[in-house]
């Protein structure tokens, strides 16, 4: 993307500036007419009561109706009940299969698949990862999570591929589907657990279905992309052979889209894994549940013991599916496959007959205690009383009083129409009038739902967290882009932070920063940082080497080169980093409701905990609107422009 904009670095800002001025003038004109009108009718800072709709009554009635009719109404007996049963039956089938294979069998088959798809190194890595899960005493929970994942990923892939197929073959479906998928991807998963729970109840079916909703969009998007991107000439050549539409699809378009399909699978798996943990809040079981239970007894060590297998599974699956996308495996090595399969089967049976199908209890390593000691030491020494710089508790208090409070109070003090104007101006400057309209409508919907104040509270936390994330992320990203060694060192760290379930670090964060909004912000920064660092580093590295060469020959210093060549040319990447940062931060600030973040996150937790659909769903909807607004306000024009095409 950087190379496309490279030839016209001078003219682009000028055009943009002219256009920006025109847009702002138009907006100011509209405001001049509308604001006095609005102000005359509904003065004051917060959203006017007259413009809110109280949905709590109908929502409570709906929730009561569902609970009262769930055991008897045909809708549940003949539809949701079957869906739910199908999920239970399939998860159970996979789980029993995994248990039957035993730990030796699962490890051997896992390694076999990794070997055939991705080579010897990953096979060894896979085996090591499985054995580590056992060593940590997490074999059974790991198998439960795997069973859940297999079913959820399969369902997501089927749903996603069907949607993608429809979108890839028909432009009209594509246009209709795009905004839906866009929206689904910016939703924080936490927000839509409640409706799923209400219909399906606590437990595995709800967890699997929530995961499918969350993980199917990337598959759909990439499938569509792959089908549309197929080489025109190849397609024409195939057509000239007189094939039917279906033959063309099966023999040319789908094989040509293989890379995108596998990337979609990879993305889907990653999303499903992160959801598997969040779904523990609604009784998903498995590793996520262990992490969640450890959180309840303030046991970071135990949480880590359950978190590490999640990280390992994520890294292994990521690398294996990634490698599958890179290379094409031939069919000529079927015998090797057969030998491997037989070997794995022998291992599984051997372990079974040796009476060692279950992971032996004696073979576990207790990491919880040393980890807890380390965390205790850290918090005891850092929380307060560090000379000169003060303890982390002081920082948190200062951050709250000096940053979070002013931003929140400022946002809540602003007249409601001015907030809408600011949103409109920002979204329009960066996108089209449609972007602006979506953003303004999303923001207005928050007001209509009657959660204006707490949404602005959440927004203030997001803004503060994004600011911190960007400062740290850009700095680290620049360092990683300029030095290969830094990047190599950073890679595993980023991997861990990106895949480690957020619940694991919620407690250390409280121990360091106390209860309140500050720890929520801190957790959000930790989670969003890796993506920002990665995108920044990649964007800077992809800057046209020719541009760098020429600036070098002109005698530019490193700093000048960075400021005047690399950063401007990497602008699209930096904007994407901003966008991703905002979306990820929002997702965790919400979970911050569990550590005193308050606002919308608290309302969602409250709704889930008390089965209060009115509070939970309204807060969830507000989060969705907030996410939509933030996404539109930060979404680079380039992506928008492509969508029109």
């Amino acid at each position: 993307m950087a190379t496309i904009t490279a030839p016209t670095p001078r003219t682009l800002p000028a055009i943009l500036r002219n256009r920006a001025v025109a847009k702002l003038t138009l907006l100011a004109l509209a405001a001049a007419i509308l604001v006095p009108l609005a102000n005359a009718r509904w003065a004051g800072g917060a959203w006017p009561d007259a413009l809110t709709v109280d949905v709590s009554d109908p929502l409570t009635k709906t929730s009561d109706w569902i609970i009262d009719n769930r055991d008897s109404h045909p809708l549940f007996l003949y539809f949701f009940g079957h869906v739910s049963n199908a999920v239970v039956v399939s998860v159970r089938a996979v789980y029993l299969l995994l248990l039957a294979a035993g730990w030796a069998g699962v490890t051997a088959f896992g390694a076999l698949i990794a070997w055939r798809v991705a080579g010897v190194r990953l096979a060894l890595g896979t085996a090591a990862a499985f054995l580590t899960c056992g060593l940590l005493g997490m074999w059974i929970p790991t198998m439960q999570t795997l069973a859940l994942m297999v079913v959820a990923v399969l369902a997501s892939v089927v749903v996603g591929a069907l949607l993608g197929l429809a979108a890839g073959l028909s432009p009209r479906t594509d246009r209709a589907l795009r905004p839906v998928l866009d929206t689904m991807q910016v939703l924080p998963a936490f927000a839509y657990l409640l409706p799923v729970v209400l219909v399906f109840g606590i437990g595995v079916p709800a967890a699997v279905l929530a995961t499918v909703v969350y993980a199917a969009p990337p598959m759909a998007r990439l499938t569509a992309l792959g089908l549309r991107g197929a080489d025109k000439e190849v397609l024409e050549a195939v057509e000239s052979l007189g094939t039917t539409a279906r033959q063309r699809l099966l023999t040319a378009r789908i094989p040509l889209a293989r890379k995108e399909l596998l990337l979609g699978l990879n993305q889907t798996i990653m999303m499903a894994l992160s959801m598997a943990v969040i779904a523990s809040v609604i009784g998903g079981g498995g590793l996520g549940d262990r992490v969640y239970q450890a959180l309840a007894s303030v046991d970071v060590g135990a949480a880590l013991a359950a978190g590490i297998p999640i990280v390992l599974i994520a890294v292994v699956l990521d690398r294996v599916t990634g490698a599958a996308g890179e290379q094409r495996s031939g069919d000529g090595r079927k015998t090797l496959w057969a030998y491997g399969a037989v070997a794995a089967l022998v291992i599984a049976l051997a372990a079974r007959f040796a009476g060692r199908a279950d992971w032996p209890d004696a073979w576990t390593v207790a990491i919880a205690e040393p980890v807890n000691r380390a965390v205790d030491w850290m918090t005891a020494h850092l929380y307060s009383g560090v000379p000169v710089i003060g303890g982390t508790a002081d920082w948190a208090a200062h951050f709250t009083t000096w940053v979070l409070d002013p931003v929140r109070d400022g946002l809540q003090w602003l007249p409601w129409w001015s907030v809408l104007l600011i949103v409109a101006a920002l979204a329009w400057l960066i996108g089209t009038w449609r972007t602006a309209l979506t953003a303004v409508l999303a923001m207005a919907a928050i007001g209509v739902l009657g959660v204006w104040d707490s949404s602005l509270d959440t927004l203030s936390q997001v803004l503060a967290a994004v600011a911190v994330t960007l400062v740290l992320g850009f700095a680290t990203g620049i360092a990683a882009a300029r030095s290969d060694r830094v990047e190599r060192l950073l890679r595993p760290v980023l991997d861990v932070f990106q895949t480690m379930p957020q619940f694991v670090y919620l407690i250390p964060v409280v121990a360091l920063f106390g209860v309140g909004r500050a720890p929520a912000v801190a957790a959000a920064v930790v989670y969003a940082l890796p993506a920002v660092v990665r995108i920044t580093a990649q964007g800077l590295r992809q800057v046209d080497p020719a541009a760098l060469e020429s600036s070098n020959s002109l005698g530019a210093t490193t700093w000048q080169q960075l400021r005047q060549v690399q950063l401007p040319l990497a602008r699209p990447a930096l904007l994407l980093a901003l966008n991703q940062g905002v979306v990820l931060v929002l997702a965790v600030v919400i979970i911050g409701g569990l550590v005193g973040g308050g606002a919308l996150g608290y309302d969602v937790v409250f709704g889930l905990a008390q089965g209060d659909l009115a509070t939970g769903l309204v807060a969830g909807a507000a989060i969705v609107c907030l996410g939509l607004m933030l996404d539109r306000v930060t979404q680079p024009t380039e992506r928008r422009a492509k969508k029109g095409a």
């Binding site: 248990l99 606590i202 969640y292 937790v605």
Partner: protein, 319 residues
């Protein structure tokens, strides 16, 4: 177009084939992880506080080691646990702090849940200050004097007012209404989870800082951080009927167990055992302290307690 129709038809028929064509009863859906490999499984719900973990740990240990069951545990808050009980996703809820609405709906009307008897522990919610602070300022233990101390109890999160720290949103609380109706200069700050609240209390106690918190007994943390209850206007039957107008203390609640109705009838030894399960506040605290403070795994803590209290639990098995 034809392709899409075919796939839709295929999808629907696959779903029908997979599930049969009859009605699916959503009240009979156990966890997919239950009863694997022919073992009899009991699924227990665990709530987020440590006392509930202690109940489950001991019940699980005895069910596994004395009665030969496999036990699955699922972490769920109280209210959703009622729903899960009614659907058969979990078999028992061992510690309920009083949910009259749910009781009416599930026990009286739908009859999908039955009362499993008392746990033997009486629960009480209240406002607490650390004892070291109460000793310095004895009059802080009456709500009428709380405003005097608001400035000392201020934090960054509470703005200009004193901080009253509440816990998880899943707990029974009237604190917002209480602060308003008693006209106190305090701000309720929700820690969001018990874990966050405990962590914060421990940090405060380490520095001997004053704090005011929503807390409850029985609780193992009292042994580590001694706390004194602040007297609120006395509780009278029905004074908390209108959640908006509450201006009195919390009641003392004998904690109850609840079982899924089917399980209670057909659950055999396990159901009988869970109905008999009844211990004291001290017992529960002993196990809780091992789990939360000494960081023993729930299983190890349960084993320790079981080894030293055989006379107590023998009775749960024999009857």
């Amino acid at each position: 177009m034809r392709l899409r129709t075919t796939s839709a038809v295929a999808g629907v028929s696959a779903l029908l084939l997979l599930t049969g064509c009859g009605a699916a009863d959503m009240t009979k859906q156990a966890s997919p992880f239950a009863n694997a490999q022919g073992a009899k499984t009991v699924t227990l719900s665990v709530q987020s506080w440590v006392g509930a973990q202690a109940n489950v740990a001991v019940a699980q240990y005895l069910l596994e080691h004395e009665l030969g069951y496999r036990v699955d545990t699922v972490q769920i808050d109280e209210v959703p646990a009622w729903d899960a009980l009614s659907q058969g996703r979990v078999d028992a809820l061992l510690e309920d702090w009083g949910h009259p609405e749910e009781e009416q709906r599930y026990v009286a009307d739908k009859k999908t849940i039955v009362n499993g008897g008392g746990l033997g522990v009486t629960g009480h919610i209240g406002w607490y200050v650390p004892t070291y602070f109460a000793k310095q300022h004895p009059d802080v233990t009456d709500w009428e004097n709380l405003d005097k101390y608001a400035s000392q109890l201020r934090t960054a999160e509470s703005g200009g007012k004193g901080q009253l720290m509440d816990g998880s949103p899943s707990y029974v609380t009237n604190d917002k209404a209480l602060v308003k109706n008693l006209k106190l200069n305090y701000q309720v700050v929700f820690a969001g989870s018990e874990a966050a609240q405990i962590t914060q209390i421990k940090q405060f106690a380490k520095e001997k800082k004053p704090f005011l918190t929503y807390w409850y007994a029985p609780q193992w943390l009292f042994k580590k951080v001694p706390m004194t209850e602040v007297k609120l206007p006395a509780y009278k039957e029905g004074c908390d009927a209108d959640p908006e107008k509450v201006a009195c203390a919390y009641p003392h609640t004998p904690l109850q167990k609840y079982l899924n109705a089917d399980f209670a009838k057909n659950g055999g030894k396990a159901a009988r055992f869970l109905k008999n399960f009844k211990w004291t506040t001290e017992d529960q605290n002993e196990v809780s302290l091992m789990i939360a403070d000494q960081k023993l795994s729930p299983e190890e803590a349960a084993k320790k307690w079981v080894d030293s209290h055989e006379s107590t639990w023998r009775g749960w098995l024999s009857r």
